[in-house]
């Protein structure tokens, strides 16, 4: 904060309160034109004063310094320990659900590849296994969120494996892609599950070579996570 002149504090306060006489106002205005410190103080403090003046703060509540319950500190630590444990448990349990499905798909894909490769006599590599990993960056609207998307170009568009964390449990989110003209292509909706995580397999009709952006919106259509696509 730039320093205002020590002998001008009264003028600054009266300016903010609108209680400066015309004569003093003219004199102080002339001063602020040549004094950056005082001009800056008027600007910075008037923004605070007007916010305060127009607010509906509860004056009783302002004077109450409620302490959190004594046990909250321990519960915070416990919640984080639980999240730590769940994170590792989810990873261990995953093979029964999603990972198992991925593995069986992978086995199937491998069998197909093997068959194709065998039929074609090793003349072709398999472009379908190419997967591009994209990390979506959290916006200020969801500072605790994270997401990665694996994109695989398909004849119908793009197949997308999305993993998200740190979203709001039970909230419906939408995944979008867009082309250079800004035209949105939906890639489905999902509900953030336990602890705000979700792992979904989805797709969009936009061809990979036209997609320039991928992002996730909340129910108010506010972007929570996004990434550019090269």
């Amino acid at each position: 904060m730039t320093e205002a002149c020590a002998d001008r504090h009264d003028d600054i306060v009266d300016t903010l309160m609108g209680s400066l006489s015309d004569e003093r106002k003219a004199e102080f205005d002339a001063h602020t034109r040549s004094c950056a410190g005082c001009a800056e103080a008027v600007r910075e403090l008037s923004s605070v004063a007007s916010r305060l003046h127009g607010s509906d703060v509860d004056l009783d509540a302002v004077e109450r310094f409620d302490a959190p319950p004594a046990g909250l500190s321990a519960r915070v630590t416990q919640a984080i320990e639980q999240a730590r444990t769940e994170d590792s448990t989810v990873r261990q349990l995953e093979p029964r659900g999603r990972r198992a499905r991925r593995i069986s798909l992978a086995v199937l894909a491998a069998a197909v590849v093997l068959a194709v490769v065998t039929i074609l006599g090793f003349r072709h590599s398999n472009p379908a296994t190419h997967s591009e990993q994209v990390a979506l960056a959290a916006k200020d609207t969801a500072p605790g969120a994270s997401a990665t998307a694996a994109l695989r170009p398909q004849p119908y568009g793009i197949a997308i494996d999305l993993d998200v964390a740190g979203l709001d449990e039970g909230t419906v989110y939408a995944l979008w892609l867009a082309d250079a003209s800004g035209t949105r292509s939906p890639a489905g909706t999902f509900v953030a599950g336990h602890d705000g995580t979700a792992a979904i397999d989805t797709s969009t009709a936009l061809p990979r070579d036209r997609a320039v952006k991928i992002w996730i919106t909340d129910p108010t259509d506010t972007t929570v996570l996004a990434a550019p696509l090269a």
Binding site: S55, D66, A67, V76, A79, A83, P143, G144, T171
Partner: protein, 174 residues
Amino acid sequence: MTDLRSTDAIDSAYRDFGAALFRFASRSLGDRGSAEEAVQETFVRAWRAADRYDEARAPLQAWLFAICRNVVIDMSRARKIRPALADGGVAASREPGTGVDAIDKMVQSAALEEALRQVGPEHRQVLIEVVILDRPQDAVAADLGVPVGTVKSRVFYGLRSLRKSLEAIGWTDD
């Protein structure tokens, strides 16, 4: 270097800012039970996002308040209640309505209240009397038994201090 992945860093952050976050959440959501939940969730999200926290970009308090504000907004929307400024868990009896503006206003007020609490008592008092209640400075000076110049000086330093408190919890101009 603050690494919020460690239990020690979380404990220390809670000691420094837990009470302020709790009061902010409690005033935004209208009851202490929800506020406890919000504070827990704030620290869990902070812990999960620890690798993206950059001390050089934001003070820890501002970052935690930004997360807490999102938690409060999420909780307000999820419950389909409007956060109550009134006390005693009366939120549910208020007319339902989760307009983003209404929620935002409650959150802003709760933040301003917390910033005011962080201003010293003498300065807070004149800010309330002069700026919020719009009382004439000489009347306030007479009540307090101090010269009017002292009231002006307290308004000046009080506003400066309030601005610093607001910045520290991540609320800046506009």
